[in-house]
């Protein structure tokens, strides 16, 4: 057995050593742990690690296979997201032990803190003592055994799995209920206790999901959308769209749900113009070769940056919201255009990994599909805090789209109206976030950039926190960003426009001296090369396209993504509908769209006399509306409106 003394070896070095011992099949003991964070994170070999003392945050986090024994107590996030393996804690565990576990056996011989087993999917969490409040909060599967008493709101918003309590139950949480415990299940419980030599003489009671909140009671009548202009701008106050909205809500009694982003006109990049007259841009087939577009993102802290052939990414969109075919087409297109693809919420598939050269792996609060192996084969990690379409809310996937396959990759029960949690179980504030980022870095050997995705709100403040928390880059999503399903009101009225978001971000970074240091990837309504070039001129390092890429791949913008019967096979999990989507053809269409975007960006930069797209600057822009001028601080120049059109007419 190897020995690592943490009073001599820093945790980062120690974890490297543990992994080496793991690869060699040698067990390890840790001396003087002194409650240090991240001990044993990212271990994927079946060795035994013995911690001679207490461990801090995320002990045994993001592992698959090892056995841990901790002689004394542990901090929060014990065995975070552990797949296979065993963790035995001889003392107490702080909050959220067994968070998001996906198969491991976690035994705490003492008491556990609050929210034990939050969003766990599979495996067993045993607490031999008492459990604090909200044990089993939002658990999706697996089992939790509490031999002592459980605190308030046991099983709050649990979706699946079972909780067995031997002591008193303070109270049950929303949508949890008591149920009978069959004899064979009891037998299994006792066998499990025997296996870990835990004695229990009392009576178990079983708590499961009551199934009252998993699906909406009344389904929303489906209608095809009224054109945006009927209810946008200075329109009849009680227009047809307003009336339809009231009629529908008078039937369903809740807010409406749809796909896509804001339907209204908002101040946007199209309210800016290039000062230079671009109407005479030549049709130069070689212009792409005349402007440097290569962009690296994410090397700020020494990780391997994402390498892009142009400052464009595919925006995060989930397998779930989109069909597997559509996700594959995006991956292929990203490879053909040598940019990056992003998994979104729904986990990573082998095919997607194979097709995409650069793949960013998104981590959400529900940890749906999250696992160490995909983390280690990703080119970038992204912690989702919120998104432009529905900031403050988690993903929403209607029951029709939660197929057995989707449920499996996400680790959840099939057929529920999935409303993903929006608050990370282990990130309650900026301080926790720093520790979470470190955990990810430990798990990936500090080689993979870690980014944060933010829906635009108080960008000026949020971006400073992101900078201080050490993120390698920020994916900033304005309120024009789209989604597969969200409440209509949230889509329309929460967040600030993309244009305001990049402005506030750059101003804030300048204030803390980070404008040259932490890149911003701007998304939310980027449609063409002109939008992209303007975003870069305003300070974005790159842009990401989601909806536009999907449209290039055949989406007809009917806004019915949430229904799950997508007529072109993109936003569906119905095989009959998915069949309608031609992966190769749409991948090529999307690729051609990206190449057209490339040409447009290069042509704009070249027309300005720049040899590098990043030479574009604020000085190249004016504002066409008073709002755009106030939001960006650019000069208001209405005389630039429709300038090219008037030049064409004059000629």
């Amino acid at each position: 057995m190897a020995t690592i003394d943490l009073s001599l070896t820093p945790v980062r070095k120690a974890n490297e050593l543990i992994r080496q011992y793991g690869a060699g099949g040698e067990d390890v003991q840790i001396l003087n742990p002194d409650a240090r964070h991240h001990i044993g994170v990212g271990l994927t070999h079946p060795i035994k690690v013995t911690v001679r003392g207490s461990a801090g945050y995320f002990c045994a986090g993001l592992c698959d296979g090892p056995t841990f024994e901790i002689e004394r107590n542990v901090g929060w996030g014990l065995a975070d997201n552990m797949l296979n393996g065993t963790v035995i804690v001889n003392g107490n565990a702080s909050a959220i032990p067994g968070v998001a576990v996906r198969g491991a056996e976690v035994i705490v011989r003492g008491n556990v803190g609050s929210r034990a087993g939050q969003v766990m999917k599979e495996g067993t969490l045993l607490c031999a003592g008492n459990a604090n409040f909200m044990a089993g909060y939002m658990m999706y599967g697996g089992r939790m055994i509490i031999l002592g008493n459980s605190g308030a709101q046991l099983g709050q918003d649990m979706t699946g799995g079972a909780i067995y309590v031997g002591g008193k139950i303070n109270d049950l949480g929303t949508d949890a209920m008591l149920t009978d415990l069959p004899a064979d299940e009891l037998q299994e419980l006792m066998e499990f206790l025997d296996k870990y030599k835990v004695s229990f003489n009392g009576t178990f009671r079983k708590v499961v999901n009551a199934g009252k909140k998993l699906k909406y009671a009344r389904s929303e009548p489906r209608v095809r959308v009224i054109p945006f202009f009927e209810a946008s701008g200075d329109n009849d106050y009680w227009n047809a769209k307003v009336q339809e909205d009231i009629h529908v809500k008078a039937q369903i009694g809740r807010y409406r749900i749809r796909g896509y982003g804001t339907s209204r006109a908002l101040p946007h990049l199209s309210d800016l113009a290039f000062k230079r007259d671009l109407s005479a841009i030549p049709a130069d087939p070689d212009v792409v070769g005349k402007v440097n577009m290569k962009t690296e993102i994410g090397g700020r802290s020494g990780a391997n940056p994402i390498k892009l052939s142009m400052p464009v990414m595919i925006a995060p969109m989930s397998y779930g919201a989109l069909s597997k075919s559509a996700k594959l087409a995006m991956a292929i297109a990203s490879r053909l255009s040598d940019i990056s693809e992003n998994t979104g919420e729904g986990g990573m598939s082998d095919e997607q990994r194979e097709e995409a050269n650069q793949l960013i792996y998104q981590c959400l609060a529900g940890r749906l599909g999250w696992n160490i192996h995909d983390m280690q084969r990703a080119n970038g990690l992204e912690i989702y805090i919120s998104q432009g379409a529905k900031p403050g809310l988690g993903g929403q996937l209607m029951a029709k789209k939660v197929t057995p396959e989707i449920a499996k990759i996400r680790g959840i029960p099939p057929g529920i109206d999935l409303r993903s949690p929006s608050r990370h179980p282990d990130v309650l504030g900026a301080d926790d976030l720093v520790i979470k980022v470190e955990e990810f870095r430990e798990a990936t050997g500090y080689k993979t950039p870690v980014s944060v995705k933010l829906g635009a709100g108080r960008v000026r403040d949020d971006i400073k926190i992101a900078y201080k928390d050490g993120f390698d880059f920020v994916e900033l999503d304005g309120m024009q960003g789209s989604t597969g399903a969200a409440g209509n009101e949230v889509l329309e009225y929460v967040g600030i426009p993309t244009l305001a978001a990049i402005q506030e971000a750059m101003d804030a970074l300048k204030e803390v001296g980070g404008d040259k240091d932490m890149p911003i990837v701007l998304m939310g309504g980027i449609k063409d090369g002109a939008d992209a070039a303007k975003a870069i001129a305003l300070g974005a390092r790159a842009v990401a396209v989601g909806t536009s890429a999907i449209i290039a791949g055949g989406c007809i913008a009917c806004l019915q993504c949430h229904v799950g019967q997508c007529v072109v096979g993109i936003a569906t999990q119905d095989p009959e509908h998915e069949k309608r989507y031609n992966i190769q053809a749409e991948a090529e269409n999307t690729h051609r769209y990206l190449e057209s975007l490339r040409w447009q960006m290069a042509a704009i930069a070249h027309a300005h006399g720049y040899g590098d797209i990043h030479d574009m600057s604020r000085g190249d822009l004016v504002a066409l509306t008073p709002e755009a001028a106030e939001i960006t601080g650019l000069p208001y120049a209405p005389e630039y409106r429709n300038r090219t059109e008037s030049l064409l007419v004059a000629s």
Partner: protein, 849 residues
């Protein structure tokens, strides 16, 4: 000529002359792929939508606007629209042609467009009464000219009559379209049995008329140039069809071969198959199944009728030994592409074989012939020498179009030639020397999208196919049209590529631009440039200097990092509140303004308000309900009621100080408007009133005052400014009234300083009201229970929306929403509400700026 749907001309149509019927410049319209693929620009999306709406006359107008032969085309058009249909890539294109037939059959032969008069002194001669000539004749007649059609046969229709067999186009259909056209255009004069080389000369026509259009067709089969083709058993396809379509039913040999893979070949083979004596029919085609030009449906029909297709086979001669007759053929493979892009068939050496038969029909192309035109020097080999850009011949007064000028093609292409020729003929007659180039017009009838919930799942519906029928030699029609339900279901499938989307960002223009970008070859810099130029021009925003303030233009700032996220789907958020600590409400909304509503409504509303824990404000109480009543008292007319939970005095002519005795347990309030505030607020505070009802409408005592338009939000801004100035913000509760449409609006009003919002028109709509003439009208169209459910549901939805907004900002109580949680995204709204803009300066816009 190939039609490319995804080229720049579709998303940026070239300029057209004034008066040209075209909607290409409409910012909310892009011609759909099917419309662009149609050579005459048929507004298919509109007629399809009209079919769903059960409006056949409107559909008829859209169909016939550019197509005088709609009944014919509804059956036999080669329908280039269908392969262009975007749904073709998913589960099959819309059956656009069949839907056209449905409309024409449904309306019957007597339906026609209203007649147009002759208004111009000039006359035009059209030589040849086929689709090109007659289309031109109709256009010119519609423009007011008298048009004389000279047709060498005994009836109008050209190849539509003589080329298409009756099983596809039954007798009567052609006459139907001709009658319709002549009723619509009395200025068309028809001269039958009269044409060039047949009783009239070009010089005579030029003398009689101000212009001459030659649409003489291509009536004669082209030779194959193989030895033995002059054998009497070798017949040319067009002549064969002409004979059969003229009524002949010749006895056929047992086996007949057809050479060629076009539409003439298809009609010839299917006709032969139906004739007496014929058992086997084989098509000999020199390329493969992917190259055969015949419409897929025709080919499929032929195969279903038992006709064999022999691909990759080229005739090289004829074998005639004694009684044996055979066609000598070689196998082919596909070589390099030729000038029209199709791969050239290459004969395989040593692959000769003989195919026995009794007759060979050659359908390898057609040609035009006219001895007179040849002599006049107007012919170029087998066509009339014609300039495509002007449709002019060598003679300045003579124009030409159609198969005779440009070679054999389809009916719809011939019609397009007709439109084009008419355009240039008219320009000539108008004295325009250098007209703008003609282009196909793209019109839209702006029909709303079909609201059929099954549009995504419906499969393409085919017409019923009858094949040869019981008595093939009678040529019974092969298909019957849809019934009404099938037609509507098929129509519901339309994507409506022409129609505006529900998204400003991804509006129809942007979507179509992206489609074009996605189909541009990377090296096609010309196309990239054109799309970019268009994108750079697209400044189109409603936010100019004159934009009005709107609640929609306030947004919430979500929680993220600087403010902690809560879980909006799960974490509790308080929605209840109490007005002046006394009137307890389970949600921050109350309802008002139903004083004049029918009693059933008032009763239902009362029940719903009690159920949801809301309250009612009005001059008279709702009646039997537990919901509290806030009595609106018109200062001059009403007396305070002891049943009311609050007395709120409203003024018809502006605020005046009033006496109001405090009743024990009853709150006192004032309904005030912006102009009242400076006087009314100090008064209300001095007199220790409990609440202000801020009226953003033209007057709360009027019926449905919210219907008069946008509310005056300055009432809440100024109220807060005055209260803050007096440092008495907490001393009086504010109820806001005016234009609340959603729970989000209510949440915004809380952010602006109101405690509760009053809803009126929105609730009336939920209860089944319809807005008409500035009033809300109700009908006895639902039960009391249904109304209670609707009202309660709306209240639930309003409450849920308000609370989700609070949760998104990280708040667990709606009442905790603050101005700081809001941003205005327009200057006008910032100014009217006192909320700052996001971005660089984060200012509150003021009127002075």
């Amino acid at each position: 000529m190939t039609i490319t749907v995804y080229d720049i001309n579709r998303i940026r149509p070239p300029k057209v002359p004034d008066g040209f019927k075209d909607d290409g410049q409409d910012p909310h319209f892009v011609a759909a792929p099917c419309q662009v693929a149609c050579p005459v620009g048929t507004d298919a999306p509109s007629y399809i939508a009209y079919i769903w709406e059960d409006k056949p006359s409107e559909a008829f107008e859209a169909i016939t606007a550019t197509n005088p032969f709609s009944s014919i085309c509804g059956r036999v058009c080669d329908a280039p629209c269908e392969p262009a249909c975007r749904r073709a890539d998913s589960d099959g294109p819309l059956a656009i042609r069949n839907l056209k037939r449905f409309v024409m059959d449904q309306l019957g032969k007597d339906h026609h467009l209203p007649p147009v008069e002759v208004t111009r002194p000039e006359t035009v001669a059209v030589v040849g009464g086929g689709p090109a000539g007659l289309t031109a004749a109709q256009d010119l007649a519609e423009a007011g000219f008298e048009v004389h059609v000279y047709e060498m046969s005994d009836r109008l229709g050209g190849m539509m009559v003589w080329g298409i067999p009756a099983f596809r186009l039954p007798p009567g259909i052609i006459e139907e379209d001709m009658d319709r056209m002549l009723k619509h255009c009395p200025g068309i004069k028809v001269h039958l049995n009269c044409g060039l080389d047949h009783g009239v000369t070009l010089d005579e026509l030029k003398k009689r008329h101000d212009a001459v259009l030659l649409t003489i067709g291509a009536w004669w089969g082209k030779p194959m140039n193989v030895p033995g083709e002059d054998s009497p058993r070798m017949v040319d396809g067009v002549s064969f069809l002409r004979e059969v379509n003229g009524g002949a039913r010749p006895e056929m040999p047992e086996t007949v071969l057809i050479i060629g893979g076009g539409d003439v070949a298809m009609d010839a083979c299917r006709s032969a198959k139906r004739l007496p004596g014929c058992k086997h029919v084989k098509i000999i085609y020199r390329r493969g199944p992917n190259e055969i030009p015949a419409r897929k449906e025709e080919l499929k029909g032929a195969i279903e009728e038992g006709i064999e297709v022999v691909y990759n086979t080229q005739p090289v001669g004829v074998v005639e030994v004694g009684n044996r007759f055979a066609l000598r053929c070689v196998e082919t493979t596909l070589g390099e592409p030729d000038e029209d892009g199709r791969r050239r068939p290459v004969n395989v050496k040593g692959s000769e074989r003989d195919i026995d038969c009794g007759m060979v029909i050659m359908a390898v192309g057609q040609k035009a012939e006219s001895a007179e035109l040849y002599t006049a020097g107007l012919m170029d080999w087998d066509r009339i020498k014609t300039d495509w850009d002007t449709m002019r011949t060598g003679d300045p007064k003579v124009f030409a179009a159609g198969d005779g000028a440009f070679g054999g093609s389809t009916i719809v292409m011939a019609m397009m030639h007709g439109h084009r020729a008419a355009y240039y003929v008219q320009a000539h007659l108008d004295g325009i020397v250098d007209p703008l180039p003609y282009r196909t017009p793209y019109r839209t009838r702006r029909v709303p999208i079909a609201q059929d919930i099954h549009w995504e799942v419906f499969r393409r519906i085919e017409q019923e196919f009858h094949g040869l029928g019981d008595n093939p030699v009678a040529f019974p029609e092969i298909e019957s049209t849809y019934d009404r339900k099938s037609a509507r279901d098929e129509a519901a499938r339309c994507y409506r590529c022409d129609a505006e989307t529900g998204s400003f960002d991804y509006n129809v223009r942007t979507r179509e631009d992206i489609f074009v970008m996605a189909r541009a070859r990377p090296e096609d810099a010309m196309l990239h440039r054109e799309v970019l130029r268009k994108r750079l021009d697209l400044h189109h925003t409603p936010y100019d200097e004159n934009h009005k303030p709107a609640l929609e233009d306030l947004v919430f700032l979500p929680a993220n990092l600087s403010r902690l996220v809560i879980d909006p789907y799960r974490d509790a958020c308080r929605v209840s509140c109490a007005i002046a600590d006394q009137i307890e409400l389970d949600l921050p909304f109350l309802v008002g303004g139903f004083d004049d509503a029918p009693v059933e409504l008032r009763r239902a509303l009362g029940a719903a308000l009690a159920q949801k824990g809301s309250a009612y404000a009005g001059r008279i109480p709702l009646g039997e309900t537990r919901a509290p009543w806030l009595q609106i008292i018109s200062a001059t007319e009403d007396t305070p009621s002891a049943d009311a939970a609050a007395h709120i005095i409203a003024f018809r002519e502006g605020f005046k100080p009033v006496e109001m005795v405090r009743q024990p347990g009853t709150l006192r309030g004032l309904a005030v408007k912006t102009a009242d505030l400076e006087q009314a607020i100090p008064f209300a505070l001095d007199a220790e009133f409990d609440l202000l009802l801020l009226d953003a409408t033209p007057g709360i005592t009027r019926p449905w005052p919210e219907l008069s338009g946008s509310p005056d939000f300055t009432v809440i801004r100024d109220t807060l400014r005055i209260l803050r100035r007096m440092n008495r913000e907490e001393d009086i509760d504010l109820i806001y009234f005016g234009g609340i449409r959603t729970g989000t609006d209510g949440a915004k009003l809380v952010g602006l300083g109101a405690k509760v919002s009053m809803v009126s028109v929105a609730m009336a709509l939920a209860l089944g009201g319809r807005i008409e003439d500035g009033k809300v009208l109700f009908r006895g169209d639902r039960t009391g229970e249904e109304r209670i459910d609707a009202a309660a549901s709306l209240l639930s939805a309003l409450s849920a929306e308000a609370s989700i907004m609070a949760r998104c900002t990280g708040k667990t109580d709606v009442q905790n929403i603050e101005p700081e949680d809001l941003r205005a995204i327009t200057m006008a709204t910032s100014q009217a509400t006192g909320i700052q803009l996001p971005g660089k300066r984060q200012i509150i816009a003021s009127a002075a700026e």
